[in-house]
Structure formats: structure tokens, C-alpha cells
């Protein structure tokens, strides 16, 4: 440890803080620019529910006070930033009075679980296939099959999700149509529950994997072409090492490292894609929460979910940047 120069660390931390701050600010400013008054919107919902509202003026003033709208804008903004940073997003308006934070806390494990699983599988498959595209001993059939499989990779996961759902859930009925686990299992640390979760999570994960592995495969292909021309590969060949040994120990090990930084560029798209996949599979993660909130016009939830996802992305990128020099000693930080 201690090899990271302070200037690099400061740079990364500044980026992280700025990202979070800008995202929070955008989320705060946008609804205010629209001229939408949350207090009258809440009153409108009451009126829609009860037919009419007595003493509407008083309620409106009271609502304004409770939303903090009677204070100057700058105070509102600072309060908001403070609340957001402490992950307090207020109360949901659609399922009043549930705190938004607890709704997000319930949804987050599902999203993170699904994302980690699909990300790890994609990373392994994608890099392996990318390496095989370049390796000279790859069977011919693979050399044809991999590039053809690549055409799927440009499709957003929601489209692959729909197609997989149609084929495997409604036509073949191999997999359940929606939901995170079966209706007949109790949530808990039991084997039944775990299998049910895996079974239900398979299709959502697969629909992300089939369309994202190509990104890694293409990157890996470029890197492998470079590694293939390096002297150490030629030397390994000249020494008469087995081709498979050269592939794993000499080529992939060297080529895979820059792939990890590509993660930082891709994660935003991955997250957005997953939000949509969760929505079509009715997976109870952040995506579904966001979609339900859009339907019910539940702004605190929309803002909270958006912010938490952006926060997750920013932190992930920050961690990758921080860990990277430890796994690739070739990198020297220029600050």
C-alpha cells in the first residue's frame, strides 16, 4: 500500500464528490424548473381521492411548510443536499408514509445481486470468447461462431429480455414469467428459497449476459492482438510451451488488465439496461421501483432511486480506479 500518489487520490475523490453533487443538483433543479408545485400536486391527489377538500388554503400553506417550500431557495437547496447525502429522501407520496429510504433498502439487494451475477458471468464469458477469437489454435467452428454471436451484443437488454421471456417463459414454459421467487416458498435462508431465487433470476441475468458479453469480447480481441505480437509470446512459443498454457498464462493474463478499466465506461449503460430488464421481468429491484414510481408520479421515489443508482455507479468507478494500480503494476499514476 501507499503506492498511490496523493495527487491521484485527490483527483479521484474530487471526481467522485463532483459526480454525486452534480447528479443531486440536477435531480433537484429539474423538477423546480418545470414550475410544478409539490404542495398543490399533493392537494390535487387529495381532491382526486376525496372528491373535494375543505379548507384547501390552510392545507396548502401547511403542506408548503412541511415540504419546506416557504424557505428561501438556497436554504431549500442546502437542506436537500444534506438530506440526500445522508440518504434521507423523505416520504413516498404514493405509499404514504413509507420512507423512500426503506423502499430503496428493500429493492437494493435484488438489484445488486442480479447485477453482480450477470456482470461476473459476462466478464468471464466475454473475455474468454474475445481471447479465443485471436488465439491461433481455436477450432475453426468457434472462429465462425463467435463473431456471429457478436451481432446480438448491440441490442439493448430489454429487447433480448422480451425475446427470451417469450421463448422460455410463455412458449416453452421452462422458466417463470416474473417475480423474484416462487409464490409457494417462504423467504429465508433455506435451500428451497435459494433455488427459487436462482431459478427466477436466471432469465433476467441471461438477457443481460447475451447482449453484453460482446463488449468485453471486442475489447479483449483488440488487446489480444497486441499481446500476440509481443516478444514474450514469441519466446514462450519458441520454448515449446503448450499452446493452451501460453493462452492462459502468457496472453490472457496480460491482456485482461486494461479490460477492468473499460468497466468504468460501461457501467452506466449496464445499470440503465438492468433497470429496464427488471421492469419487464417484474423483478423487485430498483428498476421496478422506479417504474412503479413513474406510474404513480411518486417524485420522492423517482429522485431517490435515480440518485442511489448514480451514487452506486460513481462509487463503483471510484473503486475500480483505486484498485487498478494494485492489480496492474505497469500503471504509473500521473496525477
Amino acid at each position: 500500500m501507499g503506492r498511490i500518489p496523493a495527487s491521484y487520490l485527490i483527483n479521484r475523490v474530487t471526481t467522485l464528490v463532483l459526480t454525486v453533487l452534480i447528479a443531486a443538483t440536477l435531480i433537484w433543479i429539474i423538477p423546480r424548473l418545470s414550475g410544478l408545485d409539490p404542495a398543490s400536486a399533493a392537494l390535487g391527489r387529495m381532491a382526486a381521492g376525496g372528491g373535494s377538500v375543505a379548507n384547501a388554503d390552510q392545507i396548502l400553506t401547511q403542506l408548503r411548510e412541511s415540504f419546506g417550500l416557504d424557505q428561501p431557495l438556497i436554504v431549500q437547496y442546502l437542506l436537500y443536499i444534506w438530506n440526500t447525502v445522508t440518504l434521507d429522501f423523505g416520504l413516498s407520496t404514493a405509499s404514504f408514509p413509507t420512507p423512500v429510504a426503506s423502499m430503496i433498502a428493500n429493492a437494493l439487494p435484488w438489484t445488486i445481486g442480479l447485477m453482480l451475477v450477470s456482470l461476473i458471468i459476462t466478464f468471464i464469458i466475454g473475455n474468454l470468447l474475445g481471447a479465443l477469437m485471436v488465439w491461433e489454435n481455436t477450432p475453426r467452428i468457434w472462429k465462425v461462431a463467435i463473431p456471429s454471436a457478436m451481432v446480438f451484443t448491440s441490442i439493448p437488454p430489454i429487447l433480448s429480455g422480451l425475446l427470451l421471456m417469450y421463448v422460455f417463459s410463455t412458449q416453452l414454459r421452462w422458466f417463470p414469467l416474473s417475480g423474484p421467487y416462487g409464490l409457494n416458498v417462504e423467504p429465508g435462508w433455506t435451500l428451497d428459497f435459494a433455488t427459487s431465487v436462482l431459478y427466477h433470476g436466471f432469465l433476467p441475468a441471461l438477457s443481460i449476459v447475451v447482449v453484453t458479453f460482446g463488449f468485453w469480447a471486442l475489447g479483449m480481441r483488440g488487446l489480444m492482438i497486441t499481446v500476440q505480437g509481443e516478444d514474450y509470446t514469441t519466446l514462450a512459443k519458441a520454448k515449446g510451451l503448450r499452446p493452451r498454457y501460453i493462452l492462459y498464462r502468457y496472453m490472457i493474463r496480460n491482456a485482461i488488465l486494461p479490460q477492468i478499466t473499460a468497466f468504468a465506461l460501461k457501467i452506466g449503460m449496464l445499470v440503465a439496461g438492468q433497470v429496464l430488464v427488471e421492469r419487464i421481468f417484474a423483478y423487485p429491484g430498483m428498476g421496478k421501483l422506479l417504474y412503479d414510481a413513474i406510474l404513480t408520479q411518486d417524485y420522492p421515489v423517482i429522485q431517490g432511486v435515480s440518485f442511489v443508482i448514480i451514487l452506486m455507479t460513481a462509487v463503483a468507478v471510484f473503486l475500480v480506479d483505486l484498485i487498478y494500480p494494485f492489480i496492474d503494476p505497469r500503471i504509473r499514476h500521473g496525477g
Binding site: 471526481t15 430489454i158 440503465a272 419487464i280 422506479l290 413513474i294
Partner: protein, 316 residues
């Protein structure tokens, strides 16, 4: 290695041992990088979609995008729906639950998706070219600000900010949506151009131009920009894909333009009406496949352009 071979195929005989006859023949031919099969196929797919939108308008009544243009739940020609009605040529691709004609929806919707993608990407590229050149060429404080700015913005998923925006504003037009998306696709061209400009800044011809007293603007846009064209094209196409993915994402969430037919909107309606369970596969399936073809076309153009700008990737 390969370039040497291509230049002098006869003299490089010892190196040719591992090559097949086809590869040797390929080397002897004059190599025009733009005649790339991936590029041509990809462009053909995209042109096909544009043609569907343009020619389709002339031969098909696009007013059938409205509710009640035909009987609901009609199957495409050659298939039958749950009630056993066989599809007719009045609606060759079937209708949805409200009787909208699917073919008309595609004819109007597909160009809309491309329009949003291309417009957003064009705006994003223009911002990216301007900022990238400024950062790389001027350097110093300007560079710091632009670099940190693009680092920050690249981690924010556009979809989420746009969801917040649209949830607050409601209905928007296609053009406004494109402009909003453009606010999130300038980062990667900025980075790419900055890196290229930094490496070109010290090259001979730029020094030459500077010594000749050329203005900064002249050096940036007349001397350096033409060298970046393949990269710019690649970045442009990648951005079109990102923009369309974002636009479709918004539409599938039920946001985006409410009154203009878009492919994402059709899919949204289909999912919400339970088209998957009712086995109305043509309703969601055909727009999905069309979008998939669009993305495959864009990917192939992008791969082709990669090979044009980076000869190392070219297959013999």
C-alpha cells in the same frame, strides 16, 4: 508484418507458409479499406430501415397509426390469432388491441427512433469536437475543467436524469428528447478527441503550420480535424447507438413523446396490455426485431469503421 507482406508479396515468401491461398490472393489485391464487408452490410441494413420509413409512407396509409383503424388483435398474414381469425392483407403485420396497424406504426416509428439517435449524436459530437479540441490544444486550466467535467458526466447514466426530467415535464417532442439525450453523449467523443489531439499536437505538420503563422482555429479544424475523420465516424455511430438505446429505454418506461408513435412506445403499450401472455407476439415482437436489426446495422458499421481506421484489426 502484414503491411510488409502486402507491399512485397513475392519477396516475403518465407512468411507466407501459414496462409491459405485465399489470404495470399487477398494480399495481392489493391486494398481499399472502405470496401469493407461489415461496413457495407451494416450500411445496407440501416438504409433498409430508412427506406422502409420513406418508401413505406408513399405506399401505406400512415393514418392507420391511430386507434380503431382496423379490427383489434388481427394476426399478421399467414397466422391466426386466438379467436382463429386469419390475418388479412388489410393489415399485413396485424393490429394491436386498439386496432392500430402495426405496419403503419413501424413506418412512422422506425425513422423517429433513427432521427432521435442521429440528431442527439450530431449535437453531442459537435460539443465533443469543440471541447476535445479546446482541452487538447489549449491545455492548462481549460484542459483540467473539461477533463474533470467529462470524467464526472461519463459516470452518470443518462436514462436516470432523463427519467427525472420527463417525470416532471410530462409530454415532450422528439427534438427536445434528442437535445436532452445530447447533453449526455458528448463525453466520450471529448475524451477521444482530446487524447488524439494531444498526440498530434507535437507532430511535424502541426509545428510546420504553427511556424507558418496559421491561426489556432486553422490548425485545429483545417490541419488536424481531417486526420480524425475515421475516429469521429466511429464515435458518431457509437453515440447514435447509445442515444437510441436511451430513447427506447425512456419510451419503454412510458416516458418520452406521448403523441408521436415510436418503436419503444409500441413495446410499452404491448407489455402493459399483457401482449406476452395473450400471445400477441406480432405486437411487441416485430418492433423488437426491427430495433434489433437497427442496432445490428449500427454495430456492423462501427466494426467496419474500426477496421478502416485500425489496420491491425483487419482480417486477412
Amino acid at each position: 508484418m502484414t503491411t510488409q507482406n502486402a507491399a512485397a508479396p513475392e519477396t516475403a515468401a518465407p512468411d507466407m507458409g501459414g496462409l491459405t491461398r485465399r489470404q495470399i490472393k487477398r494480399m495481392k489485391r489493391f486494398d481499399n479499406p472502405w470496401r469493407n464487408p461489415k461496413l457495407i452490410w451494416g450500411a445496407a441494413l440501416l438504409l433498409g430501415i430508412v427506406a422502409l420509413g420513406l418508401i413505406g409512407r408513399m405506399f401505406w396509409d400512415t393514418d392507420m397509426v391511430f386507434t380503431g383503424s382496423g379490427l383489434p388483435r388481427q394476426a399478421p398474414v399467414g397466422f391466426e390469432n386466438i379467436r382463429g381469425q386469419i390475418g388479412t392483407w388489410a393489415h399485413p403485420l396485424g393490429t394491436d388491441v386498439t386496432g392500430k396497424d402495426i405496419l403503419a406504426l413501424l413506418i412512422v416509428g422506425a425513422p423517429n427512433s433513427l432521427y432521435v439517435g442521429v440528431l442527439a449524436s450530431l449535437i453531442g459530437m459537435s460539443i465533443g469536437i469543440f471541447l476535445g479540441f479546446s482541452a487538447g490544444f489549449i491545455g492548462g486550466r481549460t484542459d483540467d475543467v473539461i477533463r474533470v467535467g467529462s470524467d464526472v458526466m461519463i459516470t452518470i447514466p443518462p436514462l436516470l436524469i432523463l427519467v427525472v426530467f420527463q417525470a416532471a415535464y410530462g409530454d415532450i417532442s422528439l427534438t427536445i428528447m434528442a437535445i436532452l439525450i445530447a447533453c449526455f453523449v458528448w463525453q466520450s467523443p471529448t475524451r477521444l478527441i482530446r487524447a488524439q489531439v494531444l498526440s498530434m499536437r507535437e507532430s511535424g505538420y502541426v509545428h510546420m503550420a504553427r511556424l507558418s503563422g496559421a491561426s489556432t482555429g486553422h490548425i485545429m479544424f483545417r490541419e488536424m480535424l481531417p486526420n480524425l475523420v475515421p475516429y469521429l465516424f466511429g464515435s458518431f455511430i457509437a453515440n447514435v447507438t447509445t442515444s437510441i438505446v436511451t430513447a427506447v429505454g425512456l419510451e419503454v418506461l412510458g416516458l418520452g413523446p406521448q403523441r408521436v408513435p415510436t418503436l419503444g412506445r409500441v413495446i410499452y403499450d404491448a407489455i402493459n396490455s399483457g401482449a406476452l401472455i395473450q400471445n400477441l407476439w406480432w405486437w411487441w415482437g416485430i418492433p423488437t426485431v426491427l430495433l434489433a436489426v437497427m442496432f445490428i446495422g449500427l454495430l456492423m458499421v462501427n466494426l467496419g469503421l474500426d477496421e478502416v481506421s485500425n489496420p491491425r484489426l483487419r482480417r486477412l
